[in-house]
């Protein structure tokens, strides 16, 4: 029975995914990929339970590597998506940036706006 419920969830989520994602313009296809990648790193949730359950040595280490791999995607994925989305701007705001020679006036030193978001829950513990 639970499996059937889970299948319901899967199918409905897949439909929602199709509907939502078919509206994303080609312009944002790369950020879309990195975004879905970051979101699917939610498998971190499963890895966390595994790494913390202390079942046996093998599971502990498998969990450890899994948490590391998934965290890389969470942190890297959301940061890079944000970095890309920040670059997409409309024509009108172009004028002020137009003065910057080439790419030198570019938004590199922006560690701040998002650095706060991923994974702060973890290391503190």
């Amino acid at each position: 029975m639970t499996t059937i419920m889970e299948l319901y969830i899967f199918v409905l989520a897949a439909f929602v995914g199709f509907q939502v994602i078919s509206r994303v313009p080609p312009l944002l296809h790369t950020p879309l990929m990195s975004a879905t990648n970051a979101i699917s790193a939610i498998s971190l949730v499963g890895s966390l339970v595994l790494a913390g359950a202390n079942r046996d040595t093998l599971s502990n280490w498998l969990g450890f590597v899994a948490v590391t791999a998934a965290t890389i995607n969470v942190v890297g994925g959301f940061l890079i998506t944000d970095r890309m989305l920040k670059m997409f701007r409309r024509g009108d705001s172009k004028k002020d940036r137009g003065a910057a020679p080439l790419g030198l006036g570019q938004p590199q030193p922006t560690a701040t706006p998002q650095a706060k978001s991923p994974a702060p829950g973890g290391p503190g513990r």
């Binding site: 995914g17 080609p26 979101i39 339970v49 595994l50 450890f64 790419g103």
Partner: protein, 460 residues
């Protein structure tokens, strides 16, 4: 019980934030905020999970989270936009690796007495997970160019791959009916790892957009299967979203190349061209143009359409492109950018590069929007694009790319092609565009050619 309820409520909130985040991507102005909310959803889910009753020790978790952050931060902040395709490819590997390892540990934890539905989910998880791990690594290698970008083929390759896949599927069913056979389980994982390598080997660099999207989908499905295996709904939902997104993108990419999935996966496109195609163009001549003349043409044009391709990414020329465009615009020339869906090595590759160079996104046009414009354009400036502007796709049924939708560059009043040499493009197909009377070639590295153009236009 109460604690479990709270965790589930948090997961529900996260799922909603994720879906809203993806929805926000349909509008470039709202996308950033939406994705920040999705990131918040992720933090919520992580924090919520830490209260899970099964979690009894936090040392491994803390170290792994810190380690992952230390590795992930530079991958997010310092990877240049030109390296985005390989960056995305390798991230699929990490995602799939996590899913596979959880699957192995779950199987191990059940000690062989796995209920059938769970076993089916676990089997699916490790099969797709393992395949995606090595497949993504191969894609990464090809894009990073430590593995040849040319397709690697041998006789009977498809037969071997299909047989291996068949064996893996048999093992999968075996496991469902006899879960207590760890040997078969691990053999299946080994086989899936090999399959990932074999599957990507014959695929050429120009087909990478499809492969990367497909691996995106597989990584999502593996996550989703993890959700089934451990009974976690938020995993099922996110995996399904990722799977749907990757699947949709691969369909779009295949369509943009007028090829089926099967053709991309088994067609070994980009193999050295058949002799006929190469020979046919021997007696044709190309007209080369000096930077000075090219600058003259563009400087006095009323509309210029820039057509970027993978060559622009390789030469990292997007900033100079934008400088040239600004110069032309200050002379009253209208500049637009024509973006083919499969230009580059990843869906949306060119858009990201040009956005990085501060080109406003309302000047970036999709293929359908810009194609009717070409006949009004005075100059089409092709920068390191090849197959996506090859008129053979419209006119020559014998061409391997016949039927692929292309940018109608040849309908512009004149065409200037920036190209390193006359070597055929990645797909190894001769391009008739270069021999058209209206086409002139400006040879050299895209970046230095553009720099010369910039200084010539300044001197007009």
């Amino acid at each position: 019980m109460n604690r479990e309820l709270v965790i589930q409520a948090i997961y529900l909130a996260s799922s909603i934030l994720f879906i809203l985040g993806l929805k926000s991507l349909s509008n470039p102005d709202k996308a950033r905020l939406g994705m920040q909310q999705a990131a918040l959803g992720m933090v919520l889910a992580i924090v919520g999970t830490l209260f899970h009753h099964e979690i009894v020790r936090f040392d491994l978790i803390a170290v792994a989270l810190i380690l992952g952050t230390v590795i992930g931060y530079p991958l997010g902040m310092f990877v240049p936009m030109t390296a985005m395709p390989q960056r995305i490819a390798i991230s699929h590997m990490f995602g799939a690796l996590a899913a596979t390892l959880v699957g192995i540990a779950e199987y191990h934890g059940w000690g062989g007495n796995v209920p059938r539905p769970t076993m089916a989910a676990l089997g699916f998880e490790v099969l797709f997970g393992a395949l995606t791990v090595t497949g993504s690594f191969m894609a990464f290698g090809k894009l990073q160019e430590f593995i040849t970008g040319r397709p690697v083929t041998y006789r009977g390759q498809n037969a071997v791959n299909i047989t291996l896949f068949g064996v893996a599927v048999l093992m999968f069913f075996w496991m469902i009916f006899r879960p207590q056979s760890p040997m078969v389980f691990f053999a299946m994982i080994g086989l899936a790892l090999c399959l990932g390598v074999f599957m990507v080997l014959p695929i050429g660099g120009a087909d990478m957009p499809v492969v990367v999207s497909l691996l995106n989908s597989y990584a999502g499905l593996a996550s989703s299967a993890t959700g089934f295996a451990i009974g976690n709904n938020v995993l099922i939902i996110c995996g399904a979203l990722d799977g749907a997104s990757g699947f949709l993108l691969s369909i779009l990419m295949s369509k943009a190349m007028n090829r089926s999935f099967g053709n991309v996966l088994f067609g070994a496109f980009g193999a050295p061209p058949p002799a006929a195609a190469a020979a046919a163009s021997k007696d044709l001549t190309v007209r080369s143009i000096s930077a000075e003349d090219a600058a003259m043409q563009m400087g006095y044009a009323s509309e210029v359409i820039v057509v970027p391709g993978y060559g622009m990414a390789v030469a990292q020329a997007q900033h100079v492109v934008r400088e040239l465009a600004s110069l032309l615009e200050s002379r009253g020339v209208t500049v637009k950018y024509a973006i083919h869906p499969v230009a580059g090595r990843m869906p949306g590759h060119m858009n990201v590069l040009l956005a990085e160079a501060n080109v406003p996104y309302d000047k970036l046009y999709d293929m359908e929007e810009i194609n009717p414009e070409f006949e009004h354009a005075d100059v089409a400036l092709v920068i390191g694009a090849n197959d996506v502007v090859n008129p053979a796709a419209r006119s020559d049924p014998s061409s391997p790319i016949y039927g692929m939708p292309i940018l109608d560059v040849d309908r512009a009043k004149s065409v200037i092609v920036l190209k390193r040499s006359m070597n055929p493009g990645f797909a190894g197909i001769e391009n008739q565009l270069f021999y058209e009377p209206r086409t002139s070639m400006l040879f050299g590295d895209a970046k230095s050619s553009l720099t010369r153009l910039v200084s010539e236009v300044k001197g007009l």
